[in-house]
């Protein structure tokens, strides 16, 4: 087999790179995706907050993915699903070996390759958390897959270690599904997640965030029975005497992401010890001839919008490369790595008048003063902030995201959201109705699955497609 460009990975990076390469004149493109659908990890990120930069509106993960999938289909860019790439070699031509159930083991020659395999989570073992090794210990993303993609709940009483965004999002998810989330422990003195997620995932549900705390032991023989949590000193060493036993049947780890670069290393590309991704030049080309990289395989991004942007560049550069191979590689240029978010909510914040805006990832600290029935809002940096603050003081509202069971579909559940925000106090009732509901495949993005949920006048709509 032969083609001009192979894109490894059909997640947000791979799809944006392929579309951009097509736009820049490359006709023969093939995307190789290991999952049974395009979309990558976005398919299980059913919460909202994606796309503010790319689409100027707030989307859920599956909705964000669906927009790219639609373009891939419109532009008729071919892709193989359930396909694992097992080897990539750079050169002129490059060579990719992959396999799937239909085609078996196959080799494709191409002029260029774009790596877009994403990243994986750091596992418990990598952190040397002592204790027993029962079931009930999951990487947060594994639990997210079980809940959001399969509609299954991994446990009832949860302790989460790590307050990165996945940990925070999963705290809310597990809670909405009926589990008790006992705490989120974070070894650092700040959270690595966004402020808006601390507000809407933890504060909204009174889930405690324990900063400068870590799990020092896991207990239980067959299934997790509890954890010992302790405070750590400034060197992150647990302080004797601060241990606290917390009973739970589930521990989720959300302790960082690592670019998944096994193929890259095997291709002989030089690696960057800082980003844990390959070394690239200004054209996002690795040191392996004809192999480009973008998205979380290059370095872990904070926002998917930034992944898409970088991937578009990679697609563009790969297209240029295919059309006219540059004479020399040039210089290594490390992509701009976003400053790791160090989120500290002011401790002595008077929550009755000082709010954290959840409108976007910035998380402005907004002060609302009431005088003679008039609200004065300060600290916001956009109009959305003012609207949020006024609402929050008078009638706080939230978008609820979850899943609804699907009959006769290729997947057991479909991701959903409330089409608009609903009053915060209606979340519980809304979830009850969502959990009782079911639909029959096929389901498409935007289909109304529950009307007038919790008598709010708002519909619950599908945010993903599930075919029959």
């Amino acid at each position: 087999m032969k083609t001009e460009l192979i894109v490894i990975g059909g997640g947000p990076a791979g799809m944006a790179a392929a579309l951009s390469a097509r736009e820049h004149g490359i006709k023969d493109i093939l995307i190789l995706e290991r999952d049974s659908e395009l979309g990558g990890i976005l398919n299980q990120c059913i919460h909202n907050g994606f796309g503010l930069h790319t689409f100027k509106e707030e989307l859920t993960g599956p909705e964000y993915a669906a927009r790219y999938v639609q373009q891939i289909k419109e532009k008729e860019i071919p892709y193989f699903l359930d396909t694992m790439v097992i080897d990539v070699q750079g050169g002129d031509p490059c060579r990719v070996i992959a396999m799937n159930k239909d085609k078996g083991l196959f080799e494709i020659m191409c002029s260029a390759v774009i790596l877009a395999m994403g990243c994986r989570e750091r596992a418990r073992g990598a952190m040397n958390i002592p204790g027993t090794r029962p079931s009930g210990i999951y990487a947060a993303g594994t639990a997210q897959f079980f809940v959001n993609r399969e509609g299954k709940l991994p446990g009832k009483e949860v302790v989460i270690l790590g307050s990165g965004d996945i940990g925070l999002i999963m705290a809310r998810r597990m809670r909405l599904q009926g589990a008790k989330v006992k705490m989120v422990a974070e070894i650092m003195p700040y959270s690595g997640g966004l402020k808006r997620n601390i507000v809407q995932c933890l504060d909204d549900f009174d889930i405690p965030l324990k900063l400068s705390h870590t799990v020092v032991e896991i207990h239980g023989k067959s299934r997790v029975e509890g954890v010992t949590v302790a405070k750590v000193d400034e060197n992150l060493i647990p302080i004797k005497g601060t241990e606290e036993y917390v009973s739970c049947d589930t521990v989720l780890f959300s302790c960082g992401l690592i670019p998944e670069n096994e193929l890259t290393v095997a291709a002989g590309a030089q690696m960057d010890l800082v980003t844990k991704g390959p070394v690239v030049n200004g054209r996002l080309e690795t040191t392996a001839e004809g192999i480009f990289a973008c998205g979380n395989v290059l370095h872990v991004h904070d926002l998917v919008d930034n992944v898409s942007k970088e991937a578009e560049e990679a697609g563009h550069y790969a297209a240029e490369y295919i059309k006219k191979k540059p004479s020399d590689w040039g210089e290594a240029l490390r992509p701009k790595i976003p400053q790791k978010s160090k989120c500290i909510l002011p401790n002595d914040r008077d929550t009755s008048k000082t709010l954290i805006c959840i409108g976007c990832p910035v998380g402005c600290l907004i002060t609302v003063i009431e005088e003679n029935g008039e609200l004065t809002v300060t600290g916001n940096t956009c109009a959305k902030g003012e609207a949020y603050a006024r609402n929050e003081m008078t009638a706080p509202k939230r978008t609820v995201t979850s899943f609804i069971k699907v009959k006769q579909g290729i997947r057991p559940v479909v991701a959903v959201k409330t089409a608009e925000e609903i009053p915060k106090e209606k979340i519980r009732q809304c979830m009850e109705e969502i959990q009782r509901a079911f639909c029959t495949a096929p389901v498409s993005v935007g289909d109304v699955l529950v009307e007038n949920v919790a008598q709010t006048g708002v519909a619950v709509v599908a945010t993903a497609n599930v075919t029959a």
């Binding site: 290991r34 083991l105 989570e121 596992a123 073992g125 990487a139 009832k156 896991i218 299934r223 096994e262």
Partner: protein
């Protein structure tokens, strides 16, 4: 009065424990015309000491000459390579080095060499610093000399245990898992064994119950012949394959006044392994790792290595060695209880000795039962096909026969659906996620099952015809998912 035991629960020989010793004895005994069953309380074979150890086939210089350990080690070490070919489990003769870091202790190295030679270990030699660093450039520059044992080897502990047990099954041995022995009664012509799954009856009992061997022994032994097995915990750190080639030999440390030291070794699958610690405990089920253990291993490994790749640790685990205070294996007929044999106190080098223990014990039992040869015995076994270890042609052939071999489930170790299904459907097939892991390596890689766990659970449920919420990690109760209605909360 004799309890009624159905005919299909009457055996010539009952072996208690499906670890590597019990399985080795079972396989060796299946060369004779006798009815054999193996009982184990766990949901799978290889769930005790056999699953958490160094995975070493020791050369045999360590044990005191004249002991059972010394004798069986040499024999086991000699048998292992051929056995690995016949039973198709991973084995690699990588050689071992005992590192010495103090000029004044080179004498001890010499003693060790003499002991090894007395035991019958071949080709031992003492080598100097330059020779060591040429062989192993990652070894600490503080090294002064080493004992080189070219016959040292590494094996897959699960592989050996599974191979022995599966071959035993092919030769007629029956395994009863999730069957806990609760009591043993002496009868006229043998024993009644009362278990959590009802009674069994046998002429001969072999006690290969690992850390629980004392409990089994003491069910039947005389008052003045009690056995005590101390669970001696050993913790390990396992590292990413990308640092697996930092060393090629198994590196031991010469014991000093400060203790026995830890080993640094490549595993037969290409990871790096350091450990074990040695702490005596009381709880026979306590295989928890500890913060102290982890830091001790890192600290001691740093004596052997110029740099310990601490950031590449992918998991830690602990095993319990079955230590008997005499320090040697306790193998033989129990005093005053004819027909009841102990295979107890099997601690290091127990894994190496397993094939020799099988041979040794089987000859005792055959003599006791006056057993005839089993002319139908077939001593070969083929492992599951491992895609990751095949040539492209072999891979293509396998996929052509069954496309499930093209569906990669565990991306870190490249384990396919075909391999997982094979692990479920072969004799003594996997019924748990850990069982899949030991047979195929799915979930053993750097992500530690983050991605493949949901898929493995799904395949197990599908192939076994049960719901996903019933799939366990290992023992009863170790489920991953709440039953469907649990999600309604």
């Amino acid at each position: 009065m004799r309890d009624i035991v159905s005919r299909d629960r009457e055996f010539d020989v009952l072996i208690v424990g499906a670890g590597v010793s019990g399985s080795a004895v079972a396989r060796e005994l299946s060369k004779k015309k006798i009815n054999i069953a193996v009982l184990d309380k766990a949901s799978d074979i290889c769930e005790g000491t056999s699953k958490a150890n160094s995975g070493i086939a020791h050369a045999g210089f360590d044990a005191k000459p004249g002991t059972l350990k010394a004798k069986l080690n040499i024999r086991g070490s000699q048998m292992m390579e051929q056995l690995a070919k016949e039973l198709d489990f991973p084995y690699k003769r990588n050689g071992s080095l005992v590192l010495c870091f103090d000029e004044t202790e080179i004498g001890k190295l010499e003693e060790l060499k003499q002991r090894g030679t007395a035991n019958g270990v071949e080709a031992l030699e003492i080598i100097n610093k330059e020779q060591i660093l040429e062989m192993e450039p990652s070894v600490s520059s503080k090294v002064v000399a080493a004992l080189h044992a070219p016959t040292g080897a590494i094996i897959c502990p699960f592989g050996l245990n599974l191979a022995l047990a599966e071959n035993a099954v092919s030769n007629g041995v029956q395994f009863f898992l999730k069957t806990k022995v609760e009591n043993i009664k002496k009868e006229d012509k043998g024993f009644e064994v009362i278990t959590s799954k009802g009674s069994f009856r046998a002429k001969v009992i072999i006690n290969a119950a690992g850390v629980y061997a004392d409990k089994i022994h003491n069910m039947i032994s005389m008052e003045n012949d009690r056995l005590e097995i101390t669970p001696r915990k050993g913790e390990y750190l396992l590292y990413d394959k990308k640092v697996g080639s930092m060393v090629s030999h198994t590196l031991f440390q010469l014991p000093t006044a400060l203790g026995k030291g830890v080993l640094v070794t490549p595993t037969v699958h290409g990871n790096l392994l350091t450990g074990p610690t040695a702490v005596d405990g009381e709880d026979k089920d306590d295989a928890a790792t500890t913060a102290e253990g982890v830091s001790l291993i890192l600290q001691k490994a740093a004596d052997s290595m110029e740099r310990v790749p601490a950031t590449d640790v992918i998991t830690s685990f602990a095993g319990l060695r079955a230590h008997e205070k005499g320090g040697d294996f306790v193998i033989g007929e129990v005093n005053g209880v004819p027909g009841f044999f102990d295979v107890a106190g099997i601690e290091s080098p127990g894994l190496t000795c397993a094939p020799a223990i099988g041979e040794y014990v089987a000859s005792m039992i055959s003599e006791y039962l006056q057993a005839e040869e089993n002319k139908d015995f077939f001593g070969f076994r083929k492992d599951i096909a491992h895609m990751a270890q095949m040539t492209v042609q072999e891979q293509q052939k396998l996929i052509h026969g069954n496309p499930a071999y093209a569906n990669v489930i565990c991306r870190c170790e490249m384990i396919t659906e075909g391999e997982i299904c094979a692990a479920i459907h072969r004799p003594l097939g996997a019924t748990t996620v850990d069982g899949i892991k030991r047979r195929t390596r799915a979930g053993m890689g750097r992500c530690q099952s983050g991605f493949c766990l949901p898929k493995v659970v799904e395949i197990l449920a599908r192939e076994l015809g049960v719901s996903e919420s019933e799939i366990c990690k290992n023992e009863e109760g170790s489920v991953y998912l709440l039953p469907e209605e649990g999600g309604e909360g």
